[in-house]
């Protein structure tokens, strides 16, 4: 199988490491070759973070380059707009419409651009935008945004619901399992 590329982008601390861990577990069950590239260290401190997940028959590079991502899953709206160049022609951006102001916006030296979803669509990008934060809160915690987004991403793959839920069970502590399952299903059905 030709390598599939998923980019997870967001703000440091939003839980992208758990999302990539979950995808890794899932693809492993089908015997794919997998590479997942993470960000550690300084960039994690509230900065823009990106995780690359690649799977297929044989995966060489651990990173996804411009024009290569089949899916960009963005935990935050501005971050989706930042990384569009990485989307492959025909790829899709799945984006949580939540807005988190970066420090230049907070201190008033820059502005948060308006109507980003419309602007991305006007540029010819396929955008699937929804409010994952509200669904995460509905599931019981704002922190479950990552799993809500994975639920929404799951609609694009032929893995069964059981396969996804098994991978979740392997990735989260037992006491948060029910919450995360609920979050996943809310995202999947959104």
């Amino acid at each position: 199988m030709k390598t599939k590329n998923i980019m997870i982008v967001g703000v440091g601390g939003q839980g992208s490491l758990l999302a990539s861990k979950l995808l890794g577990r899932l693809f492993l069950t089908r015997g794919y070759d997998i590479k997942v590239s993470e960000v550690h260290g300084m960039s994690q401190r509230g900065g823009s973070v990106v995780t690359f997940v690649r799977f297929g028959s044989k995966v060489y590079s651990p990173i996804i380059d411009k024009g290569e991502a089949d899916y960009i899953v963005s935990f935050e709206l501005l971050e989706a707009a930042r990384w569009t160049e990485y989307l492959k022609p025909g790829g899709k951006i799945i984006v949580n419409t939540q807005q988190i102001n970066p420090m230049p916006v907070v201190i008033g030296t820059a502005e948060y651009p308006e109507d980003l979803v419309a602007k991305m669509e006007a540029a010819g990008l396929a955008v699937d935008a929804f409010d994952a934060l509200t669904l995460a809160e509905q599931a019981g915690s704002a922190k479950a945004v990552n799993i809500v987004l994975m639920g929404h991403l799951s609609r694009n793959f032929d893995f069964t619901e059981e396969e996804w839920l098994d991978a979740i069970a392997q990735s989260v502590p037992p006491k948060f399992l029910e919450l995360n399952k609920t979050a996943f299903l809310l995202g999947r059905n959104a």
Partner: protein
């Protein structure tokens, strides 16, 4: 069953399987997780040392005692440990000794982009370079075999993309092999008479390793369908070349990058029409290939600066690749920031308010250089703030002593700030040193250090008392402040700056992300009282913003530290 493992975890697994008994390291991105992961194997003793030099010397001691040993560090950490490195090369080892070093091309979390491969050549120590997790595990084990076979420490070189990428590995069993300690003075006592006899041994060893390199399976020749081009490559660059070229052109992948297999390189060069060397950062392999009078293209074709990627290689080779759509919109940058409730914030606000010259250091508090605090004048390397302020003061006869401070973290102070403080006390400069003690090594992800009272395994242990330590080296003025208390910060800093002798101010408050730290309820904004003066915005807290002209507090981020409250003259920020 194959497992998905981070490159650093795979190194740790390799150490475990190779029967490594002793690991001593100092944390540093991207190397940190090797030591954290190996600490989870009960058979392996693992510790955080105060710095990389101590770690390497401790690992040498373990090797001398007959136990396979390891130390890990980031590229700049190897500079700190360069002293033992060059002489352990002369003594060789008893049990196998492996030195892990992780480079950070692209400077994801570093102050420079140095290429550690040069150390292998200059210290005459063999260096292995894995390109994924499976190789990280395999090469870690091989490194011990080579170490014992050739009587040499072995460098295992990682990089951000290998250290922090997960890929598939297969696990094996652990085999332990202990050696006896044998006293051998001419081998281990490196005074001139003995060292002179060891140097030829080192040169003969490099010759023997060059022979080994010719047939080593990790220097792998992968055939191609066309010999129009040929690629010599290493580390993660191998993956990028394969991603672009697949099996079209032959590739000589160097798993051992020093010493190089000269005959193999000559034969490979002769078998292709045009030879490329693809490597990250410096033209290390390229220089050697050219030294052998073999024509090749390297840094004239591929970038010297920043990390490489598949597209950068495709572009250099004029191979077409897909272009994405760039949004015609100004996207504001999102730089890393101090967390909400970060104890460094109140301190840096005070330094900025008093318009002080600040010699900074390496850690989360380096972010004090970012807007809006923008309170840092220099950052060089671990410990340079404390050493630097001494020279700054002495050379000007103290002209700026009343408005200059050094700022260093607790872990960084233990790493190499203490020697600078000794210099301040001994050579009598009137420096003011602020130790920001957040009770943890923060930036690398919460590692314990000698001031926290806990060891790598999380068990309680001896705790260095910073106040006593500073007094013991001769600093009489040692003050402790709470950085959440802006008034106290301001008063104490002013007092110490005006004092006529050196001072240490310990700004003490645990990192807000530590699990044991209890937070207060998020603050509320009284919009009737808020006059939109934006005084609360001066501290750059990610939990505060302005919405509809009024201050707004993000309740999911605010930890109720109260620093912003002290800036509000109108009482608009209140507890719940």
């Amino acid at each position: 069953m194959k497992q998905l493992m981070l490159g650093n975890e795979a190194v740790a697994r390799g150490l475990y399987e190779a029967g490594c008994m002793f690991v001593s390291s100092y944390p540093g991105t991207p190397s940190t997780e090797i030591t954290e992961a190996v600490a989870k194997y009960p058979e392996v003793y693992a510790e955080w040392a105060p710095n990389e030099k101590v770690a390497m010397e401790a690992a040498f001691g373990a090797s001398l005692a007959g136990r396979r040993s390891f130390c890990a560090m980031k590229h700049v950490g190897l500079n700190v440990a360069a002293d033992p490195l060059f002489t352990i090369s002369y003594t060789g080892v008893n049990a196998g000794m492996v030195i892990g070093v992780a480079d950070d091309a692209g400077m994801h979390s570093s102050q420079n982009e140095q290429d550690s491969r040069h150390y292998a050549r200059s210290s005459k120590i063999p260096m292995l370079e894995p390109s994924d997790s499976a190789e990280a595990l395999e090469y870690a084990k091989l490194a011990y075999e080579l170490s014992e076979q050739f009587d040499t420490p072995v460098l295992l070189k990682m990089c951000t993309r290998v250290s922090h990428s997960q890929s598939l590995v297969e696990l094996g069993d652990r085999t332990e092999k202990l050696k006896e300690y044998v006293r051998d003075v001419p081998k281990y006592v490196m005074m001139p008479g003995f060292a002179k006899k060891r140097h030829p041994v080192v040169e003969a060893r490099t010759a023997a390793l060059t022979e080994y390199a010719e047939t080593a399976p990790i220097n792998r020749l992968e055939p191609g369908r066309s010999n129009k081009y040929g690629f010599i490559t290493d580390s993660t660059c191998y993956q990028y070349v394969k991603e672009i070229c697949g099996d079209e052109y032959p590739v000589l992948k160097l798993g051992m990058v020093w010493p190089m297999p000269e005959k193999k390189i000559q034969d490979f060069a002769a078998s292709v029409e045009k030879l490329f060397v693809v490597e990250e950062l410096d033209g290390f392999i390229e220089a050697h290939v050219k030294f052998m009078s073999i024509p090749c293209s390297g840094k004239d074709t591929f970038p010297l600066i920043d990390e490489l990627s598949q597209n950068k290689i495709a572009e250099a080779l004029h191979v077409p690749f897909e272009q994405g759509i760039r949004l015609e919109e100004t996207i504001p940058p999102r730089p890393p920031v101090m967390c909400a409730g970060c104890p460094h914030r109140g301190l840096f606000y005070t330094l900025k308010k008093n318009k002080l010259t600040v010699l900074g250091d390496i850690g989360c508090y380096t972010l004090g250089a970012a807007a809006p605090l923008a309170a840092v004048d220099s950052v060089i390397c671990m410990g340079a703030s404390v050493s630097g302020i001494h020279g700054f003061s002495k050379s000007q006869n103290g002209a700026m002593d009343n408005r200059t401070v050094a700022v260093i973290g607790d872990s960084t102070f233990m790493h190499s700030g203490i020697t600078g403080l000794v210099n301040i006390a001994y050579n009598e400069s009137n420096a003011t040193v602020i130790i920001v003690d957040n009770s943890i090594t923060g930036m690398t992800g919460h590692q314990q250090n000698p001031t926290t009272g806990f060891n790598l395994k999380g068990d309680p242990c001896a705790k260095i008392d910073l106040e006593t330590l500073c007094r013991a080296v001769g600093i009489k003025r040692v003050r402790v402040i709470d950085p959440y208390d802006l008034k106290q910060c301001d008063e104490v800093i002013k007092e110490e700056l005006s004092a006529n002798e050196p001072s240490v101010i310990i700004s003490r408050r645990p990192c807000a992300l530590l699990k044991y730290v209890k937070h207060k309820a998020p603050l509320q904004v009284d919009t009737d009282k808020c006059v939109s003066c934006k005084a609360c915005m001066k501290i750059g807290c990610p939990a505060i913003s302005i919405a509809d002209g009024k201050a707004k507090i993000d309740a999911t981020q605010c930890v109720g530290c109260g620093v912003c409250q002290q800036l509000c003259k109108f009482g608009a920020l209140k507890e719940d």
